[in-house]
């Protein structure tokens, strides 16, 4: 009479509900492998890869999605864990792993006949395409309180995001136990994944806040533009340079961090409203002096092309590139500040209108680093009070720690932390 594979089929912890056919096992190729000789240099800024995207391997030492170039769309969601104890938290993590593995690898959702509604929303058709999606899971400082016996196991530098002097933070848009970033080239891919993951984890975590973002196409070329009209991310570190990623992004062994955290990375998310109406009433010269770059080409004000390197020693008084311009403060390009650069992975956001009818849009800023204090916070302190702050308002975000990668088909997010 009965013949159901019952365990975890539905609801919270549907971990066993792996899809039937064809999810990629991915292999364990470590991310950050140098590009093969002869390959054109990767666009290291915000440039989305257009056309066919090679799947980002799900398994590996790191979450490869951290280094992957930005996709066209993203949904960034912070969750609070509602699991009641450590065992339930581990179950939640296993479920998240199983869903992320399936959603990134693709395959046919499991048929369940008359024993339940369809296991898949159907948004992507009968077969979930492989490689359409990347998933990044990170944990917030709040997860290490007394609920799950994780006190004292937090990454050494993980704190709640402080309020910086130019911030106007709204509590409902800050922090979270977990952060989940889904990236893809189509909105339906991202929404399909978000619905799938939320459905499988309903009892174990609840959405705290969510902001969707997008990457613009190059206009007309080079690094995509932010919603102030400027190319944004030109001077990003090269995500394909493995050594540089080890120095700047990945938490390594011997850095005083807990063993479980090796291979992870500190993630900073900042939700930054841009006052675009005000900005559009500012003269071009003033706009360009605030950024330090030409709006049209993206070139530094002392250069001709976007990729030209600004020569600050030749301009000690800031007559060409003002001393308080954004690019000069953010990255002074000195030997002592080279190690302060994070890897930026920002997206634009657009979410309706403010109470006074102004358009609510801005930047979903995200960056990765191995040391919050040395990198993001140092840069942020240098930027305090920069002229641009009159036109932007950071209102939310948080500090998170992107977990080390899921090594193989038996591994799961946070296993070394929770097991």
């Amino acid at each position: 009479m009965r013949d159901m594979n019952g365990v975890g089929r539905r609801g919270f912890l549907r971990g066993a509900a792996l899809a039937g056919a064809g999810f990629a096992t991915g292999g364990a190729a470590p991310a950050g492998t140098p590009p093969p000789a002869g390959e054109p240099p990767l666009l290291t800024g915000q440039g989305p890869v257009t056309g066919a995207v090679p799947p980002v391997p799900f398994h590996g030492r790191h979450q490869a999605s951290v280094l992957a170039p930005p996709r066209r769309v993203t949904a960034y969601t912070a969750f609070d864990v509602t699991a009641q104890n450590r065992r339930e938290l581990a179950e939640l993590m296993r479920t998240l792993t199983a869903r992320a593995r399936f959603l990134t690898g693709g395959g046919v959702p499991e048929p369940v006949g008359i024993t339940g509604p369809p296991t898949d929303s159907g948004l992507l058709g009968p077969r979930v395409p492989a490689g359409g999606l990347s998933v990044t899971l990170a944990v917030g400082a709040a997860l290490f309180d007394d609920r799950f016996g994780l006190h004292g196991r937090a990454p050494r530098r993980l704190t709640p995001m402080p309020a910086f002097p130019d911030d106007d933070l709204r509590a409902d848009w800050c922090h979270g136990d977990l952060s989940l970033q889904l990236c893809a080239d189509d909105t339906d891919t991202v929404l399909h994944a978000l619905r799938d993951i939320a459905r499988h984890t309903r009892g174990g975590m609840q959405v705290r806040w969510r902001l969707d973002g997008f990457t613009s196409p190059p206009r007309p070329s080079g690094t995509p533009r932010n919603l102030l009209g400027f190319k944004d991310g030109t001077a990003n570190p090269d995500a394909r340079a493995a050594g540089e990623m080890d120095r700047l992004v990945w938490v390594g062994a011997g850095a005083g961090e807990p063993d479980w955290a090796v291979g992870g990375s500190y993630q900073v998310v900042r939700l930054i409203r841009m006052l675009v109406e005000f900005w559009d009433r500012v003269s071009l010269t003033e706009q360009e002096r605030m950024f330090g770059r030409a709006r049209e080409s993206g070139a530094p004000l002392d250069g001709d092309r976007e990729q030209d390197t600004p020569d600050y020693p030749a301009d000690p008084k800031g007559e060409v590139i003002p001393l308080d311009s954004h690019i000069r403060l953010a990255n002074p390009r000195t030997p002592s500040t080279a190690g302060q650069r994070p890897l930026r992975r920002a997206y634009n956001y657009d979410r309706g209108v403010d109470s006074n009818g102004n358009l609510d849009m801005g930047l979903l800023f995200c960056c990765y680093q191995r040391d919050l204090a040395r990198q993001f916070e140092t840069v942020q302190r240098r930027l305090a009070g920069e002229p641009l702050t009159d036109y932007i308002t950071p209102f939310g975000g948080g500090y998170f720690f992107a977990l080390p990668g899921v090594r193989d088909t038996t591994d799961w997010y946070g296993r070394a932390l929770l097991a």
Partner: protein, 405 residues
């Protein structure tokens, strides 16, 4: 590979009797579509899913024809109805009758896809043409392979009648109690005792909510008894705004007893009418399974958002009453579910968890208003009830009334 021209024959609604017979003969050749982009793609557009497709005939004479070579794994049956009547099709276990998958209402001449995961075991198609007896096709055995997908024995309307009748009797008793409570509420308003009316409002409202009046279970009566301002052009001043929430609005917004006398009387009248009508109503047995998840779906949508709070701040009390209503359904379906739903013990444990959580929001006889919950408690509530509806959705699909003969 099907002969050229088959696709044309398979086009729905153009098949005459002659071509039906022809198609039936041609369809006997079952085929693999995967990996044959040219030709196959045109004839089998669904093969874009990359799965093995097998064309299977559905008709009284040839139920299941076309499938002989059983293979394990996730696969698709292209069910083609060659008869002149619509039919239900199940893929069953011939021993015990558990259903692995179904297509309902397969129209004459049409083809629809049934995706299933098969493993070691024996299988047979069962065709149930409208207005004709069920027919079981040949048994196909699969020797190797892993576990098949989940299956369950179908629940029939006959199975659902006893629990539905019992449920209906329980509702009748609840309506009696409700009528007493709305009478008390009406009397308090009539004598101008607004404090007493506020005290009487909640027990009366919960007596109604406990009956699980979600999504039209009580038809038009629900709008009169428990409607909101949704759809009313005048909002909370609209003359058609009536029932519990109309009174709630007045009682918690300082309206006078004189203003509320008519709404209180109308509510009491509507409840008495519902109680009297209920004795004459026959509940659709197949609705019972739907109620098992729709009551709490409504809770999530209306109570846990605060949408239906017109001032009393008792959304969580309503949620707690809805939990009782869900239990009343589930208890009666339990005998059908124990053999069909392995997740049932977990659902019951989660119902207990939800109950303890919600009971904790009542302190000294007063219910915590939804907005007074801190974020953690609110998320916890959403999580517990959200998890429950995910699991209860299976009760609805399992308890859908299905034919077996």
């Amino acid at each position: 590979m099907p002969p050229p021209g088959l696709a044309k024959l398979r086009s729905p609604r153009v098949l005459g009797i002659g071509s039906v017979l022809l198609a039936g003969g041609l369809l006997a050749a079952s085929t693999l579509a995967g990996g044959r982009p040219e030709g196959g793609a045109r004839q089998r557009p669904a093969a874009a899913d990359g799965l093995r497709h097998t064309t299977v005939e559905v008709s009284p004479g040839h139920c299941g024809r076309g499938w002989a070579d059983g293979r394990p794994g996730t696969q698709v049956f292209d069910l083609h109805n060659t008869s002149d009547a619509a039919a239900e099709v199940y893929l069953t276990s011939p021993r015990g009758g558990a259903v692995y998958g179904e297509v309902e209402g397969l129209g004459p001449g049409t083809t629809r896809h049934l995706r299933v995961r098969l493993g070691r075991g024996a299988y047979a198609f069962r065709c149930l043409p409208d207005d004709a007896d069920a027919v079981t096709g040949p048994t196909v055995r699969i020797d190797g392979g892993g576990r098949p997908g989940p299956a369950a024995a179908p629940v029939t309307e006959h199975d659902l009648i006893p629990p539905a009748l019992d449920y209906q009797r329980w509702v009748a008793g609840g309506l009696d109690a409700l009528a007493g409570r709305t009478g008390t509420l009406r009397a308090a308003v009539a004598r101008g005792d607004l404090a007493g009316a506020r005290d009487a409002w909640l027990p009366a409202h919960l007596a109604y909510e406990r009956l699980g009046a979600a999504y039209g279970a009580f038809g038009d009566a629900d709008q009169q008894i428990n409607g909101t301002t949704a759809g009313l052009p005048g909002g909370d001043r609209d003359p058609a705004f009536s029932g519990f929430h109309r009174l709630e609005y007045g009682l918690w917004h300082g309206q006078s007893a004189a203003t509320l006398r008519a709404p209180a009387a109308a509510l009491d009248g509507a409840v008495h009418k519902l109680r009297d009508d209920w004795a004459q109503t026959r509940m659709e047995p197949a609705d019972l399974g739907l109620r098992a998840h729709e009551i709490l779906e409504n809770t999530l949508q209306s109570e846990l958002t605060g949408r239906t709070d017109y001032g009393s701040g008792t959304s969580l009390a309503t949620a707690r009453a809805n939990l009782d209503g869900t239990r009343a359904v589930l208890t009666r379906l339990r005998p059908l579910l124990v053999t069909r739903y392995p997740g049932l013990p977990h659902v019951e444990a989660e119902l207990g968890r939800a109950q303890r959580l919600l009971d904790g929001f009542r302190e000294d006889g007063r219910w915590t208003p939804l907005d007074d919950l801190d974020r953690g408690r609110r998320e916890r509530t959403d999580a517990v009830l959200g998890d429950l509806v995910e699991r209860l959705a299976s009760v609805a699909t399992l308890c859908d009334a299905r034919r077996t003969v």
